[in-house]
């Protein structure tokens, strides 16, 4: 019996199947296959099942708003941890996308399945153009400018009384029913999540990570830093505009509250709670933070106090983020192997 044990040793599953680099695996059994696939399957199935199991239509709506914030959080995480640009522009992207979709729907009479892609692409271009002046610069300029635009645009709409002024644009078409609304958003969110995860590991994604690591070396390699930064900003702002366009069709209304700083701050908090740089972490963070803030409504004005306390507790006890912690633990799973 003792000799049998001596001929075995423990090995981490991920070490056993990783071949040299992070992206190449040698999968030899169903067990190894499920080790790699299970987290992804749990995420996809969980997201698809969640709307069916939540108790009421109210919580279904909360889940929809979670998905909206998750899009913004993924866009923040992508810019911050894969391009090195700290963006406070969530509100800017949501407002731009929202107003574009509202105008396209009410003035041009386009249906939601046309206004949303239109707002995504045109909004992405518009946001990138407006942010272009601060892209050649390193440092905090991008954060400051991206924070300034939503304030600027909201005041502009208010002061000039354009685009419906403080009343906003009303009478926007909604989705055919709440299931279409819910599931189209979930599917798009999952596609974007896996798409961005794939993007950051392509050669283009490597260049973007290079911009974050070392922009001088990028220049010395004959690559324009500003061009690739603007590509990244276009991708991120398109995601933000998409969520804004969805939001106006859900609310059937577009107003200056779309430029509210909630859209900038909550995604950042979710990224910190969920774990920056993981892309799925911000989604997890939104799924936690948004319902928590709803549950705290019972406390009335003390809501923000408790919310802040929860955030502080997260930062003190799990500063790396939930998913980074979970990932580390998951990679530490061991198995016995024969020597």
């Amino acid at each position: 019996m003792t000799t049998a044990i001596q001929q075995q040793r423990k090995e981490r599953i991920d070490r056993g199947i990783k071949v040299r680099s992070d992206s190449i695996y040698a999968v030899m059994s169903l067990r190894e296959l499920s080790y790699l696939g299970l987290p992804r399957i749990i995420l996809i199935v969980g997201m698809l099942v969640l709307p069916l199991v939540v108790p009421s239509i109210y919580w279904q709506r909360v889940f929809t708003i979670c998905c909206i914030y998750a899009l913004l959080a993924i866009s923040f995480d992508f810019l911050a941890h894969y391009v090195g640009l700290v963006s406070l522009g969530g509100a800017f992207f949501v407002g731009t996308g929202g107003y574009l979709a509202a105008i396209a729907n009410t003035s041009l009479g386009l249906p939601p399945w046309l206004t949303i892609p239109l707002a995504t692409v045109v909004g992405g271009c518009l946001c990138t153009l407006l942010l272009l002046p601060c892209l050649p610069l390193r440092g905090v300029y991008f954060a400051i400018v991206s924070l300034m635009y939503p304030l600027f645009l909201a005041r502009l709409i208010e002061a000039l009384d354009i685009l419906g002024g403080t009343d906003g644009i009303m009478g926007i078409d909604s989705f055919p029913n709440r299931w279409v609304e819910q599931y189209s958003l979930i599917v798009i969110l999952l596609l974007i999540l896996f798409g961005v995860r794939r993007l950051v590991n392509t050669d283009l994604g490597l260049v973007l990570r290079g911009v974050m690591d070392n922009d001088q070396a990028i220049r010395a390699s004959g690559i324009s830093v500003t061009f690739y930064k603007s590509v990244a900003v276009f991708i991120a702002s398109s995601m933000g505009c998409l969520s804004g366009a969805f939001l106006v069709h859900i609310y059937m209304w577009s107003g200056i509250s779309q430029f509210a700083l909630d859209f900038s701050i909550i995604p950042i908090a979710a990224t910190i709670v969920g774990g920056g740089g993981t892309l799925a972490g911000p989604l997890l963070g939104c799924l936690l933070l948004v319902p928590i803030s709803e549950l705290l409504r019972d406390f009335g004005t003390l809501r923000i106090v408790f919310y802040a306390l929860i955030l502080v507790a997260f930062i003190i006890f799990r500063s790396e983020g939930l998913l980074v912690y979970g990932q580390r633990k998951y990679h530490q799973f061991e198995r016995w192997i024969k020597i």
């Binding site: 260049v207 070396a217 220049r219 390699s221 004959g222």
Partner: protein
């Protein structure tokens, strides 16, 4: 054609505030040669490199590459033309494995144009081409070294990685900013044949060095800078014999003695 210099530096001057870092420095580099630039600390050697490659703006003067004025071009455009450089303080992408460091230059427009990234097959794969270049430059292919994070690599490998980044662009000129500094004697000994091989492949090199013994072995011509001014230009022999250079740089009349300590 052979007489036209591949790189012509014409009277570049650089002020940092009130300090004149370079005053009216001119020199030519001919195709296929190795030009050495030496000078005491703070004499403006790295500033010359930065001015040529566009990383800092010149106060005055022009740089011509194959007769074309590249003085006002941004650094990525100059690198795109084939004038590449290494950094004295190594600048790899620390969060990426060594071979992924080369995927980035292989992604550049120049690499797409020259087809440098097309290793195997018609479409090619930047990862394998990157590992090929690393092997060429002295990374052991069948070890884990090319797959290690750049942050964990020792100085010798990082210096090679700097050179590899230039090679990935299929350059016409490589400007090496102190590529031997911080290396052990054995590491330098293995770098020298590499430099000689690059010259045989037809790449023009400008080398800024403090390791004079190795520099004199590989270079054809040496330029000496002192306080931002060009002191003298000539073959290693004439440089060593020059009195001005002795006082400015070697600080001793006995050159042989200095070189033994270098």
């Amino acid at each position: 054609m052979k007489d036209d210099p591949i790189l012509k530096v014409d009277g570049i001057t650089k002020f940092f505030g009130g300090i004149q870092a370079l005053s009216d420095v001119s020199f030519d580099v001919h195709e296929g040669e190795i030009l050495g630039i030496i000078g005491p600390n703070g004499s403006g050697k790295t500033t010359v490199v930065n001015c040529i490659t566009g990383f800092i703006k010149k106060s005055a003067g022009h740089v011509y590459f194959r007769g074309k004025d590249i003085s006002r071009k941004p650094p990525h455009k100059i690198a795109d033309m084939g004038v590449t450089r290494t950094f004295q303080i190594m600048r790899p992408y620390y969060s990426l494995p060594a071979y992924k460091n080369l995927v980035i230059p292989l992604f550049s427009p120049r690499s797409k144009r020259t087809g440098g990234w097309r290793g195997g097959g018609r479409l090619g794969d930047r990862n394998t081409v990157g590992i090929d270049i690393l092997e060429e430059i002295g990374f052991e292919r069948d070890s884990y070294v090319p797959y290690k994070l750049a942050a964990t690599l020792p100085t010798g490998y990082l210096k090679r990685l700097e050179l590899a980044r230039c090679l990935a662009l299929k350059p016409e000129i490589i400007i090496c900013d102190e590529i031997f500094s911080g290396l052990s004697m054995s590491e330098i000994a293995s770098m020298v044949p590499l430099i000689e091989r690059l010259q045989m492949e037809g790449i023009t090199l400008i080398m800024i060095e403090h390791r004079l013994r190795e520099l004199f072995r590989v270079t054809d011509r040496i330029m000496v800078l002192n306080f931002g001014k060009k002191l003298i230009e000539g073959s290693p022999k004439t440089i060593m014999a020059n009195e001005e250079v002795k006082t400015a740089y070697f600080g001793s009349q006995n050159v042989e003695e200095v070189m033994d300590h270098a």
